[in-house]
Amino acid sequence: MGTENPNRANFSQRPSTTPFSASQNASPFSSSSQVAGAVASSFRPYNPLPSSQIPPSFSSGPLAGPEASGFRSVHQVRLSDPAGPPPAPSYGPSQTRPSQRLPSPQFSSPAQVPPLWTSTGERPVVAPSVRPSAGPFSSTPVSFQMQPQPPTIPLGSPPKSMNTVQRGMNVPQSSMDSPFAAVSTNLQPSSPPMRAPFPAARGTLQSAFPGYPSQQYNAVPQTPPVNSVAFPPQQGGSVAPPPAVSRPYIGQQGSYVQSPSISAPLGMYSQDRMQHPASLPHLGTAQGLVEDFSSLSLGSVPGSLDGGIDSKALPRPLDGDVEPKSFAEMYPGNCSSRYLRLSTCAMPNSQSLASRWHLPLGAVVCPLAEAPESEEVPIVNFLTTGIIRCRRCRTYVNPYVTFTDHGRKWRCNLCSLLNDVPGEYYAHLDASGRRIDLDQRPELTKGSVEFIAPAEYMVRPPMPPLYFFLIDVSVCAVRSGMLEVVAQTIKSSLDTLPGFPRTQIGFITYDSTVHFYNIKSSLTQPQMMVVSDLDDIFVPLPDDLLVNLSESRTVVDAFLDSLPSMFQENMNVESAFGPALKAAFMVMSQLGGKLLIFQNTLPSLGAGRLRLRGDDARVYGTEKEHTLRVPEDPFYKQMAADFSKFQIAVNIYAFSDKYTDIATLGTLAKYTGGQVYYYPNFVASVHKDKLRHELGRDLTRETAWEAVMRIRCGRGVRFTSYHGNFMLRSTDLMALPAVDCDKAYAMQLCLEETLLTTDRVYFQVALLYTSSSGERRIRVHNAAAPVVADLGELYRQADIGAIVSLLSRLAIEKSLSYKLDEARTSVQFRIVKALREYRNLHAVQHRLGGRMIYPESLKLLALYGLALCKSTPLRGGYPDVQLDERCAAGYTVMALPVKKLLKLLYPNLIRLDEYLLKASFADESENVWKRLPLSAESLDSSGIYIYDDGFRFVLWFGRMLSPDIARSVLGEDYATDYSKVCLMERDNEISRRLMRIIKKYRESDPSYYQLCHLVWQGEQPREGFYLLANLVEDQVGGTNSYADWMLQLYRQVQQNA
């Protein structure tokens, strides 16, 4: 058996004696609870319906399982189960839940006998998942009783009741014939005594964290099945297909043993431990240990790794990023994971434990993430009382504070100081100690809330939204068409700029001189003033350069209309960027705001001129390599600091086809909370839409102005370093002149005390900003995380998204002072250390020979690590990525929210031709589109594929694609050079459908505009450049393939293990 199923979370199979396995979630948070079996990805919101029904008669002989390797997606069995919420001593047929009938019995694949599983100690995986069938069951009460399936359920329940079969599971051959194939449990010899320690451990955890959704073990002992076959009921976690990855406590272990012929449940409901009927036949060797991790077999025989890895079994994020659901559900007062993601939703309780967590420990905050309609952040206005904050640590009042002394005092959850409740805020406490006005106080119930800040939170009146444009009008800008597109886009966005009617606007253009424009409302035509003294730049008419948009609208319109034609004949190739920047600073420094720079060439005149450092191949691999990636001239850093000081955010749009030293220019964006947009070889006819969309979004998205952000945390924990695009104003205060929903910030924390005595650590993110409407507001996000003493728990609660985000930011920062190679090695090293630590944790109890083990929550760590090493900022060396592109990508990744980063690292690859040809497209919903592994093997030469990394689309046309499709999509010139073909909607159904799909994808990710590149199979070098180099699982130009990477990691983990 080459692989074990990678889809199992927590991978513990519990051999139980009877064919029925089920688990029940005993916690009140039932929505996050587990299903006993594998949950298919499409069923993400599943209800915890326990107990799966499993067919009885399995012979305990050699097991043959259908090797469902042909199934790409996770296939799991869903069984519906009758489980009555209350303990019912007897079952009536009425309690039987109709099992969901799903029409796809997937057992048609040939069964094969797993060769070695018994001998290698690997157990076949079985993941019967319970299908949440009936409504009433979704809210399983806290009673821990599972009821065995009523006898009335026919044994011959049709295989329809399962919808999927987990791949790689072994189903006894005999079951194939029987209608119970669905059960597909693997028969597993079990040794009950071995399991005993486990439940006990769980039990302690549970008690340690009240409110934690922990599992209970429910065992319903039953008469052992006649054939005495043990089914390994899996732990809930083992179920998890990729989407369920980060659920905590995924692995709940509950196993229900039940024989179909049981006539009455025995009524033994043990909560915290499994009970094994004494009559359990002891079939196997020491396979009874519950495995609390996922693993990947690296070869059929331990020691001989050459057997290779079944590449299909490698874990992949084919369902996209899965947010840690538990995080919000564990503590209802936590904010959504949109806003704050901790790298592990549990805090180590001691420094020594923290040092064994080799991954970054920290958080990724996206304070203004876009929320869906119904979940907007409530706004609270403390009119008279003032904002309630802790006297000592200045924490804002939040759901975790406790009111005492009849409601007259409240205790701060961060520093435990007892504060007085202001008279106006006073409310009685009810019997349970909760305020009676709780339902009217969103700040005491919601994880995220926004306070209206009174005057003491302002150092000056709230600034109006201000947009200032610094536009290069040299010959390149005009020729490429950039100027025209920019002018048009700005003009079309004027109506939707936020903050009407207070919005202010201004323009400067520059080539070898700096041009100012007087756009005062009293004028009819803008006046242009040219300053050519670059050494001593000054601002003529300082008051009229920046005007109120609504007052000067006509002048601004006239200016933008005439801008492209004004410089039509300009042949100037110089760029006085530095002086223009200074001029813009002088104009804006009164108010602050957003400065948008459109730069086409290398700054060549005046202060801040840059030399052509060039992208020298010889520098790579030497000690000086990193200097290419750091800013050259301190002028820019100084300017950036000044900009940040005066609340100016800088966004850079760079267009050059030649070297523009993005590394230096980008610092302006980096320290001012801005963003770098890079359009290499900008040609208006090609990139027009992209620039238009991205500039439009930049101008019109909701922006928070003159913001500062601070993240507070409870005692014993301290944030030490911050990573992202901002400037620190004091040790923990981030200055963010402008923030919007596309920016995320990462931070790392450390433990200050050797031992944490509290049982929870609280975090509070506070963003003080001026909204576009001119209101000063404080957005507060709260989170709590349990303190744990167990390393395994720490790993179990890991959030792969936040970890990858932190890792990539650290690696990019490292690439600024070390070689690229060292940055990549450091990523690998950290992954290896983490996996080794985890392996050591389990090596004692389990036989791990030939297997690579990892926590279910981190099963994608290796893949993302590989993808990170192959990502644009860190990839290869000189020939692989142009320096400017690398730097621009680096700046982008430093600000990217988690979801977008994961998509960039492991983009979607989807086959489209089937959808294009399908007669009906009723099922165009997102779920139907199957993401494919990013390897060339996924590409079939008779198909069309779309590759979507969030920044661009690549449409790949197979060589054998039927000409009809190509013609209908591309028109008559389908056979010509694809670089010149532009994709447009044509008058046929296929083309319309394709455009609809593309449009839909674009709408689903509006932060950037994904330009569509068409690539024909075998068309080099474009195919290699656009697609093949980005297939992260393949071996491209000296990099590892995914399987090789796993092997390499495995070997390194083994060393010194």
Binding site: P634, K637, Q638, A640, A641, T667, M727, L728, S730, T731
Partner: protein
């Protein structure tokens, strides 16, 4: 002969100056750490005195060399080299944008430097004492001898 005490007085003042400049930088960094100063002010304060400090230290070393105090010259040489290297690499100024990242390192560096200057201060003091007392003793002897001479001559009269 007469120059020696004067020289040591100059060394003493220079050393005091170096200590003061270092102390000032350390205080600025501590203030920044404690949030009494914002990074702009703190780094501009420090950057103002960095070049004077380097120049002073350079002069200090060269003066030792010229005056032939080999031991002191060698003692100040490593620090001078470090300063020079930092200056050549243009790393001598505090980068306001990254000040919090380098804060602890810079502070430690300056504390080490301060320690070194204090050590030097002790050495200089002993030399001043030695030089001072020696010449004073000598001069006392000298005058005493002369007076004695005078007296004796008087007595001779």
């Amino acid at each position: 002969m007469d120059l020696e005490p004067l020289l040591w007085i100059i060394f003493f003042l220079m050393n005091m100056g170096l200590i003061a400049l270092n102390l000032y930088q350390i205080v600025s960094l501590s203030d920044l750490e404690a949030d009494y100063l914002n990074p702009y002010e703190s780094s501009s304060r420090i950057n103002h005195v960095v070049i004077p400090e380097y120049l002073l230290h350079g002069a200090f070393s060269i003066l030792f060399l010229l005056s032939g105090h080999w031991f002191f010259f060698l003692a100040t040489l490593p620090a001078a080299y470090i300063n020079l290297r930092k200056f050549m690499k243009r790393e001598h100024l505090i980068d306001v944008t990254e000040v919090f990242r380098v804060l602890s390192v810079e502070k430690k560096l300056r504390i080490v430097k301060l320690g070194f200057y204090l050590l030097l201060f002790v050495l200089v003091m002993t030399r001043i004492y030695a030089a001072g007392t020696f010449s004073v003793v000598m001069s006392v002897f000298h005058s005493d001898n002369e007076e004695l001479d005078i007296r004796s001559s008087i007595l001779e009269f």
